[in-house]
Subunit: 461 residues, 2 copies
């Protein structure tokens, strides 16, 4: 699809659709919406608009569609694969002003929210209700961004990803049509499941302007433990055995020694610098949880665990989780001159030990690169951040290592992206991962968005 | 779409695609595939074919598409809304010969199956592994039929519906193209979610020839209880409070007094003839479960429970569940001269008490009709079976009661069908339930099946 630069009439017309303080063509605003938290090159939109309701979104999309202007939705800009970078310029719709929590129905474990709600704000609001919105990507992500991306995080191993927590959506389609899909019943077998088609579609099929999300009850009790292992392989084997045992962890994170070293340096945590599993369990009583911890301890010992430390208190647990979530930022800060490829493969858990060893060995082959390995191990998800000077000679090697790691994951029945989405960085793997079904995704895309104005340039190679 | 009767050449050609024992135009086979377990009028296909592999399915669909011949997939014929009745005749593909369990990967909690596998056979095969396939519609349903219908049952309140247990599908599209969608990773954010689009699409977008399903661990311990209440309303209020308390039942079934009476008569169960809740809880220890039963007992007492009987043993639990699942058949047997409308609405649980009282009152208005009320209460799902002579004067009244009940459920944010699917019987509610999104479902349908050969006449009014 060919897009033309906006002309003065377009800008004027678009600006007239919202109040004067809610659109901008200023350089700093265009810059702010030109890149996310990934390495992908910045690309400025031509105008940024902050809609406050679905009517405005509909009107803007109607105009954009009629005039073949690209529209990219913007949540918090925290994605890691260039997902909201407006590759073909045009309009960025920033949803931060549509951030109302419209209704919380505690009794039904449901909330209706606008897309710009930060999920942590929703959870803060829910704090006295005994409920929470479980998908936990760990950043200042908006619920709309999480839906676009089918985000997940540390809690997903137990509670599921965003996909498992969306019941109903109101979406504005490419031509401005407003459509409500799904309902508020706990279950339904009525009609084709368009809700799940939109979850994870990265703003390419339509834009979410309201969502009914499913909440979960906060467990009465939790128990956390840390285990250290002589090698990443032995830790990976412990992950597999823990998952196989059916103890159902509420978090099961792996951090390789270089990550522990970094956390120690940055946050003075005094952890053993060894491959480490952080695990958490939720349950109704401490009695039950200590039974579980015994099982897990036994498994870890069998796999060579050198130290198993149960009974972390809430503060310790929170510090560890925070450090885990801060890793990306710490790595960036420690290597300011580097660019980074973030691997996000997920494989069946039985393939996890082999996969993680393979990935680390591939990364090590690039002599001058730095590599950090961690991930939501319980989901078979591996993050491997390989850094080097972009454009330098090792960059091509990193890229080849990336290709080999993803190819291996796909061969093991896995996926190129467990949670970051396709965005720009994973586009090149889509044909290999999806084969002929990618053609059907493309047909679905052009059914909903015939002119291809929504987040163009993504997903399809 | 206009379809023409098959000619001799068609029949000959189709028969040549499979071995001679695997096609039939005999009257008894056509009859056997002319109706499911619903009241909907029988409609004979013109030929029944039993494929054994995807190549045959692909070849048959390719021919059918080229010659605009309707194709309806057949699992076990146990659906309740006419879902597999070949309304436009043509070909029925009976998948019972594609019933191989291809692979069980216990460590990954996954199995690969062909669509004709009876889910109970899968669970039987899994019995020593500590795993099971949780969606439990309670009949001899095939996994393929369950996927087509997004089936659910007593376990769904805790473990989810079929939708939550499908990771990957191989489907044959209308023109014979074989496409693999999804993967075997525990989670993915890669591409549009075509898997969930196919789950629940009632064989109208493509036919499943292989599925990777997600299994769950069997809980160490269970505890069951029965509570009787002075009214359905008080039982409904107890349901709401139990769900609100977060105790997470593994089954929460409501049976109105007429159902208990019927079960007593048919199976000599000696239950109190009062509105009854059957509940079950799963957990790691009996200690935990008795804590939960105490909470639930307290809630039931507050809502007027007259007798609360915990501690059912396995045999008693199984008899009760079997009786619950046998209700449909018992009702049929006891009223051989009647036809029945089966209501299957689901509403948010907070609306459950009001909804169930409304539904029963509406049914009572039809003086000469019989009505049986039960349902997967924990999911907000109500089954109300209203019976009378079809075509008689009360039939129109029943139909109007049905309309009012479904309309009320939709107004409360619910759905016309919690688990039976749309089929023939719920088609008339689709416009009201889905509004403009029904048009998008139709567009999706004709994207995947431009000639409309797959299960024609369903879903869209």
């Amino acid at each position: 699809m060919e897009f033309h630069p906006l002309n003065e009439k377009d800008i004027k017309r678009l600006k007239s659709m919202v109040s004067p303080d809610r659109s901008s063509t200023g350089a700093s605003n265009l810059d702010l919406h030109s890149r996310d938290m990934s390495r992908h090159p910045a690309c400025r939109p031509e105008v940024v608009i902050w809609p406050v309701n679905r009517r405005e979104v509909s009107q803007i999309l109607g105009y954009a569609n009629q005039n073949t202007i690209p529209v990219t939705a913007w949540g918090a800009g925290t994605s890691l694969e260039g997902n909201p970078i407006p590759l073909r310029r045009g309009i960025v719709l920033n949803f931060s002003r549509m951030n109302q929590i419209l209704d919380i129905r505690e009794a039904d474990f449901q909330a209706d929210v606008e897309p710009g709600v930060i999920y942590q704000d929703l959870n803060h609001k829910l704090r006295h209700s005994g409920l929470f919105f479980p998908p936990d990507p760990g950043t200042q992500a908006t619920v709309g961004g999480m839906i676009a991306n089918n985000a997940s995080g540390t809690r997903t191993v137990c509670y599921g990803s965003t996909k498992n927590h969306v019941l109903r959506l109101v979406v504005v389609l490419a031509d401005g049509e407003v459509v409500e899909i799904g309902n508020r019943a706990p279950k339904t077998s009525s009609g084709y499941d368009l809700v799940h088609l939109f979850v994870g579609s990265e703003g390419m099929l339509g834009l979410v302007v309201e969502a009914t999300v499913r909440l979960a009850g906060i467990a009465e009790e939790f128990a956390s433990a840390v285990g250290t292992f002589p090698s990443v392989q032995s830790a990976g084997k412990a992950v597999f055995e823990i998952m196989r045992s059916g103890v159902d962890p509420a978090a099961l994170e792996l951090l390789a020694q270089e990550c522990i070293d970094l956390i120690n340096r940055e946050q003075d945590m005094g952890l053993n610098v060894l491959p480490t599993l952080f695990m958490e369990f939720h349950g109704p009583t401490q009695r039950q949880l200590s039974d579980i911890l015994e099982i897990v301890h036994e498994i870890c010992l069998q796999k060579g665990c050198q130290e198993f430390r149960p009974g972390l208190d809430r503060a310790e647990r929170d510090r560890l989780l925070k450090a885990r979530y801060g890793l990306g930022e710490m790595i960036r800060r420690n290597h300011p001159d580097q660019s980074r490829i973030v691997i996000d493969v997920a494989v069946p858990v039985s393939a996890y030990p082999e996969m993680i060893v393979f990935a680390i060995e591939e990364a090590r082959k690039v002599k001058t690169a730095t590599a950090y390995t961690f991930g939501h191990a319980g989901d078979g998800n591996i993050h491997l951040v390989i850094g080097a000077k972009e454009g330098g000679p090792e960059w091509a090697e990193i890229d080849e290592a990336n290709n080999r790691i993803v190819t291996k994951a796909l061969a093991m029945g896995g996926t190129a992206t467990g949670e970051h989405g396709v965005g720009i960085g994973k586009t090149k793997f889509m044909t290999l991962e999806h084969g002929k079904s990618l053609e059907w995704m493309k047909k679905v895309k052009f059914l909903f968005d015939p002119k291809g104005i929504l987040n163009p340039g993504k997903m399809f190679p």
